[in-house]
Amino acid sequence: MRFLLPAGALAIAGLTACDGRTALMPEPNPDYPGVVDLGEVAVLQPSDIKGDSVYEMATYEILGPPEVGQRGGASASFIGTGGSVCVIVDPEAVYWSESVSIIDNKEKWAYPDNYLDDGDIDLEVGLSANYTGSPGIEIGDFEAVYEDSLGTESYIEFNECAIGGYLGQTDAHSGRGTVESCTIDTSGRAGKEYTVVLNTWSVPFDDFLLSYAFAVVEGDCGSIGALDECALPNESLSETFGALEAAFCDGEQYTFCTNNPTLCGTDLH
């Protein structure tokens, strides 16, 4: 009995700790649905996303948190061109790793990133015929079930958005606040409808609203130019974030963070 008492106390303490994290479980926001459909988007030309025209041509939207237990995200469709198209999404905001080395500290990365303003979107693309979701109602995927002669089920993946990982795998995704892109080969499928799924992996902790920029561009992703944080600029469409991202793209975030410490992390090394 003397042993059980501390164990019980520990269990209660553990439950209390779990309760404390409910602050990170946001309620749905009626102004920003967690599941949306963007409808059909045009396949842009690479020049459309250069300069200020990107703000008109690309899609800039905001996702709210989904209902608890529901997958959140946005879906969109485009028509296959018969060639390669590049699908790009840039979730807010910017992300970098802080330089913490004592002997070789890099000033450029000395400020920590403000991770509270980062969201994460994972990209999937496939033929609409293979999409299991209901646009605007329920986010789905591109998996089909094959049942063999003994009744055993196997999943067949029809997601064509292959993103390479560090270990050579083709089903990787970028992390928080980081651009994702993939090339979709629509040869032999000109005129066929494709669905893009922007899966909400996480919403920013600061406001639980996930801003993002999204575009479908003609050509192979490798031929469009660097598809990094700066490709679809200022996905938050805010002056302050735009300035931070611009500084990041210029490699000047140390100076920016020094002058605007509230927009960066505070644990400076």
Partner: protein, 291 residues
Amino acid sequence: MLTPLMVLAAGCTFEENLPEVDITGTVVVPRAAATRTLADGSEVVDSRAIGPVWLGIYPAIEDAGLLFDYPHPEMGPVYQDGVRGNAYPYGGGSVGRFDYACFQSLKCKIVTGRFTDFDDILDYFSDVVQSPVIDSYGAEVESAEYFRNYCYDLFEYTADYELSFLSGFDDDGNALTHFVENADGDFEATFDVYHTPMRAGMELWGWVDVPSELHTFSTCDESDGQYGGEYNEDNSYYGTNQYDLLNFPSLYIAAGDFVSTTPHVFQSETSQDFRDNPEEPTLNLDFLVEE
């Protein structure tokens, strides 16, 4: 003091009731798969010529003529141009696997469980394949001691038993290679297929990859496997089996290979049934794949 020991002892006998089984059995390879024709037209029967035996557990095996000209596992849907259906195996294993025997000239040519020692390899490639082993300087390897030293230097090993392509001998001097000749003149070996999820009616099937004239194998991928990064070597991958050979057997089965005509159909309903009454299948690889 006894209580903790009793708890530990009970742990050793704990039955996890996993829905999977370990299968042990025997595979029979026909004599023809161990027969090579020499340059002078004579034939030699040699168990070292037996290639890797690939074994898969499948939902069903289709007869010859239905999917291919030889028995083949049932396939899932074909949904990409030029890509065959996946056979979706439940599990699998092999008798022997490709191993890198220190020289590029032996890449994808050495199967574990076929050779006892260095001399065994040198003799086989010199006398049977009639294409001697060549070292990284282009010279013929004639000395087992040189072979050993080269391997020890390459892998930083200190004993032959660390080289898995050498089977060695038991204490009585008997070779520990996989295959032995049976009374019919064919060759038999035992096999293990581990961690197979149990499905009533699942079928064991397989084939032996019979080597080409130069002792190469269609089931080996020279561009994959461990990467050799030695400064004095032709740096490249050491070769390994094709990663999807059980999923797409027909991509790698070629004329001259032997597949099993009659798969073993498992009767056990559950994994526990199998553990209570283990089935020990014998699989005959008796169907010659022709052009």
